[in-house]
Amino acid sequence: MSLAVVKSKSEDATPSPAKILSLRAPKVDRFRSLKRAAQSLANNFIPPLVCAAIILLIWQIAFGRPGATLPSPLVVWKEASDLIIDPFFRNGPQDIGLGWRTLTSLTRVGIGFGIASAVGILVGAIVGQSVWAMRGLDPIFQILRTVPPLAWLPISLAAFRDSSPSAIFVIFITSIWPILINTAVGVRNIPQDFRNVAKVLRLNHFEFFWKIMLPSAAPYIFTGLRIGIGLAWLAIVAAEMLTGGVGIGFFIWDAWNSSRLPDIVVALFYIGAVGFVLDRIVGFIGDLVARGASAT
């Protein structure tokens, strides 16, 4: 009885306040959401800005005195502002903006990393499918994986006898290992249930690769790609320092040889920023893909 009474009471009471609320709600919500967006923007951007300012200040104090070995932020701005303000100028074959140099380096990374991705995923898929191949190849991969990028350069120079393919090869050989190993692990971790579904449907190898293996192993693959792109970007700078050309790595070496320290500082920021963006792009794509493949 008491239950029924409570029910009827609430039914009587609800309609009028509900109407008033429904009219007001949107306005309040929009204002609140705007405020919340501003709040989160501030939360995300103010701390890094403040920290950056403090670091610049410390840097200025540390190297601001005359005779300092490294340039202070103000000196960098004074001497290299052309590089900072306009990344895409062309004053001659060797006097070009850092944007162009970065693009040259990115092209090399793109080719090397692209080949590494394709080969790494394919070989990783094969290795992951076969217990025997995994046992045989995994130790070899684990050893090769730890070889530093530049250690490959002499061998690749000897093989290709040209600087540009050598640099691309260094990118390839550096970034392929995490992609390959992660893909293999991802393929090994495909649930037996999915394999059974594929067997009942009689999917052939090609269909299994595209429809089951790639989506199922995608989170692993993208972890590998993300590590791989980071390594590739590390390797390109080192490789270009030695092979020359117009890349951002060679620019640093060139600037060092002609004692343009402020230019080096600017180039370092470029490299850091580009590496950050690359990592975020791969991570973002990975998140998009992983959302579809997330576990039940």
């Binding site: 649930p191 249930d193 067997k199 009942v200 576990a295």
Partner: protein
């Protein structure tokens, strides 16, 4: 009735190193077209292994599985499986999960429009049309299993193999799905083999109940016929004499004659 599926002296052993473990010994069974046969037994008796043998997912050690007098020893869509944990691909929508099966099995026989209609027909059969654009993670356990059934049915299997299909579901959802299975069987008159550990489910759904002895070296202990008219209604059956008798014989088999002895 014709012998549709024949299990002919099937044995299965698993070998781990030098130790050989016989799971199933000398299984003989004939299943007729349009029949629903349940296999029941204590856990570890090898009933899931037996289903995998019929499906072709694991090879037999000796003996043969004969479907329409032809030996089958590899998996195929004519023996579609409804897996215990649904096994839907999480990156595909409900529709695409069924479409994967339909496009593979009927890709060369049916036109695009026919396939689309066939997918929708099967989703309709399990009452899942409303959720066809959702992903498996966005629907309930019972709905996932419905889609699993739709995917299996869409392959137009000669035999539908159900591996404890409702084991992971709550009692109410399970009852709903059992009713759906009975409706589907009434419409399609298809042949089904179902693994279960639920006595009521076995009696309600099946024409025959195959009772397995305990492993190792499990075999068929007894087969109970369930002579109940279809369509069956669970409420009317509660007091039905044949129903009670069938239930009793299965229970007696499981708890008197072949009590589950905890592995010593």
């Amino acid at each position: 009735m014709t012998a549709y599926l024949k299990l002919d002296h099937i044995s299965k052993s698993f070998r781990r190193g030098s130790v050989e473990n016989e799971v199933l010994r000398d299984i003989n069974l004939t299943i007729n077209k349009g029949e629903i046969v349940s296999m029941i037994g204590h856990s570890g008796c090898g009933k899931s292994t037996l289903l995998n043998l019929i499906a072709g997912l694991t090879p037999v050690t000796s003996g043969a599985v004969l479907l329409e007098d032809r030996e089958v020893n590899s998996p195929g869509p004519e023996r579609a499986v409804v897996f215990q944990n649904h096994s839907l691909l999480p990156w595909l929508t409900v529709y695409d999960n069924v479409a994967l099966a339909v496009n593979k099995v009927f890709g060369s026989q049916k036109s695009r429009a026919e396939r689309k209609a066939w997918i929708e027909h099967n989703l309709d059969l399990v009452q899942m049309t409303h959720a066809k654009d959702r992903r498996p993670s966005e629907i309930s356990g019972g709905m996932k299993q419905r889609v699993g059934i739709a995917r299996a049915l869409a392959m137009e299997p000669k035999i539908l193999l159900l591996d404890e299909p409702f084991g992971a579901l709550d009692a109410l959802t399970r009852a709903h799905l059992q009713d759906s299975v009975m409706q589907i069987h009434a419409t399609l008159k298809n042949t089904m083999i179902m693994i279960t550990h639920d006595v009521d489910e076995a009696v309600l759904l099946s024409d025959r109940i195959v009772m397995m002895t305990n492993g190792p070296s499990a075999t068929i202990g007894d087969v109970a016929e369930v002579k109940l008219e279809r369509p069956r209604h669970r409420l009317e059956l509660v007091s039905d004499r044949d129903y009670i008798a069938a239930r009793e014989s299965v229970l007696k088999f499981l708890y008197e004659r072949h009590r589950f002895v905890e592995a010593a």
